[in-house]
């Protein structure tokens, strides 16, 4: 209960960055915390709860994507220049993030929002370190093109 109250808001923000829908983020977070509750007795010695929570959240998000398909429109080809001097029309980083495919977006969120190492992210998504590195670089490159600016990483 204490863990859920303390970490719920942060988990939901991470979920939102992955799914870009506050209602879905709420559901994903609730499911994650429910699974944590079930595993709590084992967790106390098994692994650090926050790390386990991230793992469960990621799997819950990707499972949801697989079951329900993505209702998002992901831009596959990006125009050469999208930068616009008008601040009202400029794409936000959140919007640009939403343009990435779900799994790539999750990798970027885990790497650069949760500040996890490449090794940890690779273990979480079930991919090799080299795959995570390559996908991260491609995603950042896409974000830069979408934002039309240097995105310092």
């Amino acid at each position: 209960m204490e863990f859920a109250s303390a970490h719920g808001p942060r988990l939901r923000r991470t979920a939102y960055l992955m799914c870009r829908d506050w209602h879905l983020a709420q559901d994903l977070t609730q499911t994650t915390l429910a699974k944590l509750y079930m595993a709590w007795g084992r967790l106390n010695w098994l692994e650090e709860p926050t790390a386990y929570a991230r793992k469960v959240l990621l799997r819950t998000f990707l499972d949801h994507q697989r079951r329900h398909g993505s209702r998002e429109v992901v831009v596959e080809s990006v125009p050469d220049t999208v930068h616009d001097s008008s601040p009202e029309l400029r794409l936000t980083l959140l919007d640009a993030l939403g343009q990435l495919p779900p799994r790539d977006r999750a990798i970027v969120v885990l790497r650069y929002w949760e500040d996890l190492s490449i090794d940890t992210v690779a273990e979480l998504v079930g991919a090799s370190v080299s795959v995570v590195k390559t996908q991260s670089m491609r995603s950042l490159s896409k974000l830069r093109r979408l934002l039309g600016e240097d995105l310092l990483m």
């Binding site: 939102y16 709420q26 609730q30 994650t32 106390n44 010695w45 098994l46």
Partner: protein, 258 residues
């Protein structure tokens, strides 16, 4: 890692119309309790299915001759010599570990007795199950091979039903002995963490017996540590063993969730 991305994202999130959390925590607890109840019902059903499979398996497999009943408990691990004698200077070809391989290996290295109730976790993790009867009735063992982290909380903590003792084994592996006083599925959990990242969990249970009675645990603490610390466990195991396991257990029942 540059803070620019993080800072910018945080600023944009702050500008979002983030809805209140509402009953997130309460609903999560309620959902968790519901799932736990459903899981317990699944355990009971799985035990009934396992009992049926056990009876069928015993009839088909007959007497292997390898497991003599009424064996003395003092003869802890005669089959370990079999496992270790297969090592040679040239490493044998390896295959990814499977739950079937775990069950097969347990049959090789457990103390003498009658084994039964072979099973695996239903969620795809490498977690094998076996019951061992050393003449006092069967009781369940479950062993997991994975890449778990070392427990971060050895020693005293706030949960009175949980005790954790950590130490280092002679071979350098870290050992955690975990006891749950209110969970017979985890009466004793022996966790071995190796420096190569391979970790083994052995659940020595005092319930889910297949004969309807409460029987003594199948292994003593010392025996359980020896089994969990067996050098044969790994993320890959001898290909011959893995193949033999697949032939003996082509369709290992999924009898529990993890």
């Amino acid at each position: 890692m540059d803070d620019n991305f993080h800072t910018r994202l945080a600023a944009e999130l702050d500008n979002e119309h983030e809805p209140p959390l509402g009953d997130l925590v309460t609903n999560a607890l309620r959902q968790g309790r519901r799932r736990r109840t459903m899981r317990r019902t699944t355990y009971a059903a799985g035990t009934l299915m396992t009992t049926g499979a056990l009876i069928t398996g015993l009839i088909i497999s007959g007497q292997s001759g390898r497991h003599a009943p009424q064996a003395a408990i003092g003869s802890a691990h005669p089959s370990l010599s079999i496992a270790q004698s297969s090592s040679s200077k040239t490493p044998a070809p390896q295959s990814p570990v499977t739950s079937a391989a775990v069950v097969y290996r347990l049959k090789q290295i457990l103390p003498p007795g009658t084994t039964s109730a072979y099973g695996q976790a239903g969620n795809g993790t490498v977690f094998g199950q076996i019951a061992l009867d050393r003449g006092h009735g069967p009781n369940m063992l479950r062993l997991h091979v994975g890449t778990l982290s070392v427990p971060y909380h050895c020693g005293d903590h706030t949960d009175p039903t949980l005790s954790i003792q950590c130490s280092t084994l002679p071979d350098g592996a870290r050992l955690a002995l975990i006891r749950f006083s209110d969970d017979c599925n985890q009466s004793l959990v022996v966790a071995v963490y190796r420096s190569n990242g391979v970790n083994v969990l052995l659940n020595v249970m005092t319930c889910l017996t297949t004969n309807g009675h409460a029987n003594p645990p199948a292994l003593s603490q010392a025996e359980a540590v020896t089994i969990a610390d067996d050098p044969g466990w790994g993320r890959t195991m001898d290909s011959t063993l893995v193949a033999a396991a697949q032939r003996e257990f082509p369709d290992l029942p999924k009898t529990f969730n993890n």
